[in-house]
Amino acid sequence: MKTLVWVEHEGGAVKDATLSAVTAAAKLGEVHLLVAGESVGGVAEAAANIAGVGKVHVADDAALGHALAENVAPLVVQLMADHDAFVAPATSNGKNIAPRVAALLDVMQISDILSVESEDTFTRPIYAGNAIATVKSKDAKKVITVRGTAFEKAAAEGGSGTVEAVASTGDAGLSSFVGAEIAKLERPELTSAKVIVSGGRALKDGETFEQLIFPLADKLGAAVGASRAAVDAGYVPNDYQVGQTGKIVAPEVYIAVGISGAIQHLAGMKDSKTIVAINKDEDAPIFQVADIGLVGDLFKVVPELTEKL
């Protein structure tokens, strides 16, 4: 089976989620990549170094610059004439593009896979991860998005792929990029961090969140996450959200501070290796999944913890 993996990149570098997608694709067969964007020569070279990749198709065009699905999907569809499976990371860009490709190919996409059981059979979470479905695709071609935390990252070095230019299918003339407000990261990225400190609604307000959670995270070299309630209440921006509809994370250690543990939140973090919960309510559902629990007032406990670490 020949697979085509869509390479997610930013600032000239391949994003980690792509490496997990490559691992999943390698379980299906030969791995070819698509690097689409504007001035992406460097990205293509980096992509060719990923262990185990064959051909790297590069489409360089301003119309592909912001990964607009309307412009990327026709290009993918064209390349799929020569591939059996399209694989994308289940990131916001991957989730935006892949279903558009699937519909154009008349294929039912398999979203957010957790494992590859065989060439046509996969497992995926449903009902916010409260059930795991094993599904078998009857489509001749497969379109798949990959949950990054479920697959090891392929080695970024050691490959010897060959770079090949492909013509862009151009601007579909349906949409245009206006701008972005991308938060500057002073800390590790949530989806690839080894340690995450997450705060919930109990933090009271944005200022308190910042005063309590950020120093603890910095002491541990951790990324900062939040529950939906904390994001909805405006303590932190949306890109902090961990959960069913936010980011799915699986760090070595996840420290949940003042998070009660709604099923939608658990869906986003319950595959973490060790979960630490700090909550004043000893009956909070978070304690049912926590490996280490501390019942206490976070306003006292967190500064003390930061101090003593």
Binding site: L104, D112, I126, T191, L220, D232, A290
Partner: protein, 249 residues
């Protein structure tokens, strides 16, 4: 401008799903069902656009069992003008749903189609993007802000790193994220009024669409359970634990 709002009947947000003992699926017998929360946000957005004078008519459409009428009545009680039920007892996958919705759009010629970014049952996150592909229309997915400006619509999207804004020609597809708005509760008089609003019932066959599933569910299982661990008495004990795990120096 007419707005089409597809809605799905799903297990209620607050119900914890249970896997059936025979591993064929999730037990939905006697379980509270509601409108998919993301679709509720879509209905709300459409109604607000109507209240602002941008939209002239809001049409809700659902594909599913006869009881999906209740979901459509909820949309009507919130303020939608009329509803279409494409009734089937079969499970319809996102691709099939998108094909049916494409046919509805051919008849309705809406200027905007607003729907939830994903349904909380199968968590597929596909229908809107697929519909956009089939109709060759632009898509503004995971929207946290929607502004109609003449024959364009500006959509602010929740993306991994923060927010991104795109400008789309209309007709366009918009899929809603959580923070687009807070849906209203339907008032009792509006619930009563909704009962007499028009609701047309059709079948997939009326549209000549093949909805045969492409994915076969081999089995459904409970995820690996986490068991509760230990409780520590104080911060010192927690620090010791974290240090022994190598998290802190």
């Amino acid at each position: 401008m007419k707005i089409l709002v597809p809605v799905k009947r799903v297990i209620d947000y607050n119900v914890k799903p249970r896997v059936k003992a025979d591993g064929t699926g999730v037990d939905l017998a006697n379980v509270k069902m509601s409108m998919n929360p993301f679709d509720e946000i879509a209905v709300e957005e459409a109604i607000r656009l109507k209240e602002k004078g941008v939209a002239t008519e809001v049409v809700a459409v659902s594909i599913g069992v006869a009881k999906a009428q209740e979901t459509l009545r909820t949309a009507l009680a919130m303020g939608a003008d009329r509803a279409i039920l494409i009734q089937t007892d079969d499970e319809v996958e996102p691709l099939g749903v998108a094909k049916l919705l494409a046919k509805v759009q051919e008849e309705e010629q809406a200027g905007l189609i607003v729907l939830g970014k994903q349904a909380i049952d199968d968590d597929s996150n596909q229908t809107g993007q697929m519909l956009a592909a089939l109709l060759n229309l632009p898509q503004g997915t995971f929207a946290s802000k929607v502004e109609v400006e003449g024959d364009k619509v500006s959509v602010t999207r929740e993306v991994d790193g923060g927010l991104e804004t795109v400008k789309l020609s209309t007709p366009a597809i918009v899929t809603t994220d959580l923070r687009l708005n807070e849906p209203r509760y339907a008032s009792l008089p509006n619930i009563m009024k909704a009962k007499s609003k028009p609701l047309a019932t059709k079948t997939p066959a009326d549209f000549g669409v093949d909805i045969a599933p492409r994915l076969e569910t081999v089995s459904v299982a409970e995820p690996a359970k986490r068991s509760a661990g230990v409780k520590v008495a104080d911060v010192d004990e927690l620090v010791a634990k974290l240090k022994s795990m190598g998290v802190a120096a």
